[in-house]
């Protein structure tokens, strides 16, 4: 039987604020354990939460960027469960009156653009962190993270493959980065994802038994875990067995999922209104203000890069996925308006440098103006493409002025005809066999001779001029 896959994702995004969502403790990652805590986020009796204005504003901004409807009135609720990382034994979250619902996110798949529904986005507090001790009997708790503002973004079960889930996450992260509400750093846990997946006979409308997968620490892990589940559930169903509705954990070392054991016995969270936080009215004026402050979203920018700069869909996608990279690209264009050329260097040598050094474009020393200058030097024939490749890592690392550096290092291209002619003579004299082959019609031999000249000049000869000089010399006279 043929099955189709149904995937929904639940993403948690930490909002970047100076203080926690309901108290004034700091939110920095990596501080000494339990030093960012107070009576509110430790859940001490008598303490009272007060909502952080900036967290609320950023939450609304994120929901608007995901095309959600913003509620006129929103309420916080207590979600009850017992777990050592939850100091109050309830989490302040939102249940039946989330501040936003009914959004959508466009993703790019092979067949084109697909819209993934967003069921709801709500604001809640993060829990603390548990570290399991080597003795196997105890765990250590750090409440620094408890109370960090957390956005929960629940998608509709609209994704039909692990690839689509991957594309959704990539796009969602790009949107959150564009609107500057979160650093989305998965290693620090600022962005986390759980997945729901089920299979059903193709063409049917019902949902099969839903499996929830947790413990995936990267987008690639999400994709791999979902693929594993597709295969596992498919094999079960094809054998006439049933899929058990359960929560499973992804094992990143063994690359498989296992049923989660000893977890909370019940999903009976006994939500009730948080009495310590009042209702919040969201004025349409506030919504309009936040909406008007939204930047161009990645999907729109991608379309614009294709139409305005004539880039391929692929190139536009790579450049716009990272807002900083797209900004950099457009800044280079201000001084050097050759989009294809700038895109090629950015996506080639520069991205390779970034990934090799594990840096982002904002961390390199080379300014967009400086890259524009370097590319202009190449266009003007002052340096060759080969030299360009050689100097870019230096500019990226040391932030030197391209013109000054080319001069200082003696890398300017030799375009002096007399000087090149003398070198051409020497190379011809030293390679009679190649000269012979060329004259017998073997074009390839010319390449060898050009290489000889480049070698003599350590890559600095103007290649077009060398070609021209060699041809003139070989085609018109006999040696």
């Amino acid at each position: 039987m043929d099955f189709e896959t149904v995937i929904g994702l639940e993403v948690h995004v930490q909002l970047s604020t100076a203080s926690k969502v309901f108290c004034g403790c700091g939110t920095l990652f990596g501080e000494a354990a339990n030093t960012q805590t107070c009576p509110v986020c430790l859940g001490l009796p008598g303490s009272l939460p007060v909502l952080n204005k900036e967290a609320f504003r950023k939450a609304i901004k994120a929901a608007l960027a995901l095309n959600c409807e913003i509620a006129e009135i929103t309420k916080f609720d207590r979600k009850h469960y017992f777990y050592p990382d939850l100091p109050k034994n309830f989490q302040i979250s939102q249940f039946d009156m989330p501040f936003s619902r009914d959004g959508q996110l466009e993703i790019i798949i092979e067949e084109g653009i697909k819209r993934i529904g967003i069921t709801r986005v709500h604001l809640e507090e993060d829990a603390g962190k548990l570290m399991h001790m080597a003795d196997g009997d105890n765990s250590l708790v750090d409440f620094n993270r408890a109370g960090t503002p957390l956005l929960e973004i629940v998608s509709e079960p609209d994704m039909s493959s692990p690839e689509e889930a991957y594309a959704y996450l990539t796009e969602l992260k790009a949107v959150m980065e564009y609107i500057e509400v979160s650093d989305c750093d998965m290693e620090k846990g600022s962005l986390r994802c759980d997945a729901n997946i089920s299979l059903r006979p193709r063409g049917t409308a019902g949902l099969g038994a839903k499996v929830e997968i947790k413990n995936m620490n990267s987008f690639k892990a999400v994709r791999a875990a979902l693929q594993y589940e597709v295969n596992r559930q498919h094999d079960l169903l094809a054998d006439g067995k049933t899929v058990v509705q359960e929560t499973r954990l992804w094992d990143a070392d063994g690359l498989y999922t296992t049923p989660m054991r000893g977890k909370e016995e019940s999903h009976d969270y006994r939500y009730f209104p948080e009495p310590d936080l009042p209702l919040f009215e969201i004025s349409r004026q506030m919504v309009a203000d936040i909406r008007s402050g939204l930047p161009e979203m990645p999907a729109r920018r991608r379309e614009r890069f294709v139409s305005e700069y004539r880039l391929s869909e692929y190139d536009a996608g790579v450049l716009t996925q990272d807002k900083a990279l797209a900004d950099y690209f457009e800044e280079v264009l201000v001084d050097y308006n050759n989009p294809k050329m700038v895109a090629n260097w950015l996506m080639g040598d520069i991205l390779a440098y970034l990934s090799a050094t594990n840096m982002t474009i904002t961390e390199v020393k080379m300014t967009p103006q400086s890259l524009a200058k370097a590319l202009k030097l190449q266009e003007d024939g002052v340096i060759s493409g080969k030299i360009q490749k050689q100097i870019l890592p230096v500019l990226l690392k040391e932030g030197k002025d391209p013109e000054a550096y080319v001069k200082e290092a003696g890398l300017a291209q030799i375009s002096d005809e007399d000087e090149l002619s003398r070198i051409v003579e020497r190379v011809i004299a030293a390679n009679p066999a190649s000269v012979q082959s060329y004259r017998e019609g073997k074009e390839k031999a010319l390449g060898f001779l050009v290489g000889g000249v480049m070698k003599e000049t350590r890559g600095k000869a103007n290649p077009q001029l060398v070609n021209q000089l060699l041809k003139e010399r070989l085609d018109t006279s006999n040696t």
């Binding site: 604020t17 000494a32 952080n52 009997d137 750090d142």
Partner: protein
């Protein structure tokens, strides 16, 4: 709405409370009485009334996003029944492998 001792046992479990058998019975009877009383409200038409989630007419209480001083490490750990260095120490809950 009839409430069984099983219902009481379940709710008690969710709250991590243990009751003696005679307590289960007593609470079942009491809870049933309370819920019966609440059921009387169903006779009223409240379709135009917004659910009361808060009794005070207060709304939109927000604070500026400003970092304030946290507690000292000594204060944080003062009431901890079990600790190790700067951490609270608890029995391990999840067997994740």
């Amino acid at each position: 709405m009839p409430i069984s001792t099983e219902d009481i046992r379940y709710v008690a479990f969710l709250a991590r409370i243990t009751f003696a058998p005679e307590e289960l019975k007593r609470f079942a009877t009491q809870l049933e009485t309370i819920l019966e009383y609440i059921e009387q409200l169903e006779e009223l038409d409240v379709s135009d009334v917004r659910p009361t989630t808060h009794v005070l007419p207060v709304k939109n209480v927000l604070r500026k996003d400003e970092k304030r001083e946290s507690l000292s490490s000594e204060a944080v750990m003062k009431n901890a029944p079990s600790k190790q260095n700067a951490f609270f120490k608890v029995p391990r809950i999840i067997q994740d492998k």
